[in-house]
Amino acid sequence: MTPALRRWLFFAGLAGLMAFYLWGMKGLPGFGNYPGPYGFIINHIAVGQTNATGVVSAVNFEYRGFDTVGEEFILFIAATGVAIVLRRLRDEQDENPAPDEALDRAASRTSDAVKVGALMFVGPAVLLGWYLGSHAQTSPSGGFQGGVVLASAFVMIYLSGEFLVFRRISPVSLIDAVGAAGAGGFAAVGLTAVVLGMPYLANFLPLGTVPGAVSSSGTIALISFFVGIEVAAAFILIIGELLEQTLIVRQGRH
């Protein structure tokens, strides 16, 4: 195929794609116009039904809680997959280890500016992550966001040059267990409702009296908490496995 023919083929394809794309765009509702009924219905009834003023969380963990269980396990399985592929077994060794040409050079030191900067953010990140994870029922937040922020606190400890501390405060077996407890906890909340004779994931806890209070919304807050620790554990696990992989090569060079 000559370059000229290839270009023509590209432009013909582009023209077709643009035609369909513009045709499709024409059928969309106008900017800012929401046509469906569900959003309006949810806005109307959610706070009264669940006592959660964080209506997005109420949708995520209550109205479509079953979908969220599936999403939860997507992340869980992704983390498991990374761990299976990357984790180095005790008697496993590189078949052809790359020859190190400069064995005597020192590993580069972490600068004081990076150390102070990273460590300064650990406390605020833990606080913000915990706040986000525990306030899904009150305001825009939730376990997912909180979990990632919590995990980023651990990454900052690593950034400050303390891989050994990173490993000491997040031992793999503990992180595995926390992740499994988080994912299992979500499913267990749903099953508890079934045991009590209600549909799966039905809200069986008292909803509280004040809408938007931290103690309100029953299982929504509980599920957000389980999602939070599962997400935090999954991210720490994935990042930890990748770090270990890159560090193994460097360890021999000290």
Binding site: L132, G142, V148, L242, L243, T246, V249, R250
Partner: protein, 97 residues
Amino acid sequence: MAGHAAAIASPYSVPPGLMQALQVVVLVLVAAAATGVVLIRVPVRQTIAVSAYGLLLALMFLAFQAPDVTLSELTVGAVALPILLLLTLAKVRSRQK
């Protein structure tokens, strides 16, 4: 759109025109940042650009009244994805040496 906006009270505490101007500015910035990410060819720099792009996307969601998505985009697009990309790049490099 105007009729719909009049039917429900304006959700903004600033004049709607100002809000629309902000939305347009953010959309232009997002488009510019996305183009920048594609045009940068050095992987490490591209990762930093993706992080900045994630930050802009988060701002965009905020300007369009989606604070929950803003938080998700901030954590995943601006933090988690760049970290994973950087670690993968480090891993690939250490193997090439």
